[in-house]
Amino acid sequence: MIRVTNLVKNYGDFAAVKNISFDVAQGEIFAFLGPNGAGKTTTIKILTTLLKPTSGEVEIDGLNPAVQHNEARKRFGIVFQDPSLDEELTAYENMDFHGVLYKVPGKIRAERIEKLLRLFELWDRRDSFVKQFSGGMKRRLEIARGLLHTPKIVFLDEPTLGLDPQTRNQLWTHVRKLNEEEQVTVFLTTHYMEEAEKVAQRIAIIDHGVIVAQGTAADLKAQTGAESLEDAFLKLTGSTIRQEEASSLDQMRNMSRMFRGRRPGGR
């Protein structure tokens, strides 16, 4: 369903993703784990047509997202790591906007919006402006929106960021249900190892733009002789804290790139 072969992505002369390859089968839940700045979001952006790869091939349901953008875009739904709502619109309007862009027919759209907003307990607040929502409510709305057009593939980039335990539970239960009942393929990232272990059938660990291990949670533990996935993760990626790699020098480069009219930095 997702195939990545020798993918490389450089931002200027900084290599964010260095020649990674992996496959995700149809109907699989795949966790992409790694420390801050490892290259997870960058990979997701390439898979979801937001960025062009420097080199290498990616495939989504047999399509090349860098070329067949629109066909590829129909296949997936995404929950971004960073905010992506229109705060000046209401919760319902944000959902409706999404439904129209994805050509969900009117009646079905209304039904699904209600179902999802109820599921994530936002129905009562549907006519409130998003700017009045708490962080967790915004997150829930983004998740509900990402599922609205019943995509075949769902990308979840740290979907549980800022969510309370109740909602996290709700989310993963729903994701597993979608996966079991509708064979939705799920590509997720998270920094909560126990979530990944519970939900994902297969895990890849990326560090400094390189995949350092792949397999089931049991494989990874066996491979490192660790007790828990968290220990395995730490053994594979070391225990030093990652600093933000964009130094002031990078920022100056971004500035100059801005004037040359190319994609500057800032996430």
Binding site: N70, K74, F76, D86, E88, M258, G265, G266
Partner: protein, 248 residues
């Protein structure tokens, strides 16, 4: 097509919901009208040019549309910074449609704003000399609105944050306004300024408006229209191209 509509609707909704912004953006035209219109009125009259307020009003209308349209286009930077742009960029809709919806929405907002300023001009004493020119005036307003929304979008596609914004204001928007003949007659200008003004697209918009509303045009109405249509088309195409190349 629904995509174009929903993007248009979003811009318009956002506009009507931000009343403080609407009111704030009327301050500047009002100031121009009152301070310049009445301040320079006597001199203008003595120079044998008639009423300066009559002359200035189309310029102020053009200015309002210019500023609102450019800002509507530049709003793209907000959407990028607040993240909403990602949502539209992963949707299975050709980016040309997204750009079209945004541009029409921004142009609509600029037209509303222009319409309000017309009312203010009336209140200040501006009078249209022949009502048969009104449809032509609306056409000129639409062309100016579309042209500068597209320009704003094109520029915003090249910027990722507000660091370049001041640069755009001072080296693009302000010169377009001040060099356009919105404030002064085009006849009898020093050569250098005459040439500069003739290269400024807003010149033709304001001149067209002046011709349509008060029958005082410098160029022929057909020339104004032709120049505006050609430049608006070029800017829309350039804006669509740059927009489609955005990476996030």
């Amino acid at each position: 097509m629904n995509a174009v509509y929903i993007l248009w609707l979003r811009q318009v909704k956002r506009y009507f919901r931000s009343r403080p912004r609407i009111i704030a953006s009327l301050g500047q035209p009002l100031l121009f009208l009152v301070a310049l219109g009445f301040g320079f009125g006597p001199i203008f009259q003595r120079a044998g040019q008639g009423s300066y307020l009559q002359f200035l009003a189309p310029g102020v209308i053009g200015m309002t549309i210019l500023f609102t349209a450019i800002f509507s286009g530049i709003e793209l930077i907000w959407d990028r910074q607040f993240g909403f742009l990602k949502e539209t960029m992963v949707a299975p809709v050709p980016r040309v449609y997204i750009m079209a919806g945004r541009t029409l929405g921004g142009a609509t907002v600029a037209l509303f704003q222009g319409a309000i300023v017309i009312l203010i001009c009336f209140a200040a004493g501006f009078r249209v000399t022949s009502f048969s020119g009104v449809p032509a005036a609306v056409l000129f307003m639409i062309l100016v609105a579309v042209m500068f929304t597209a320009l704003g979008t094109a520029v915003a596609s090249l910027l990722s944050d507000f660091q370049g914004f001041q640069l755009v204001m001072n080296f693009l928007v302000m010169p377009i306004f001040f060099l356009s003949g919105a404030l002064f007659p085009l006849a009898g200008l020093p050569k250098a300024l005459a040439i500069t003004a003739s290269l400024d697209p807003l010149t033709y918009g304001v001149d067209g408006l002046r011709g349509a509303l008060i029958g005082q045009a410098f160029y022929a109405g057909s020339l104004d229209t032709l120049v505006l249509v050609v430049i608006a088309s070029i800017l829309v195409i350039a804006g669509a191209y740059l927009f489609s190349r955005i990476q996030l």
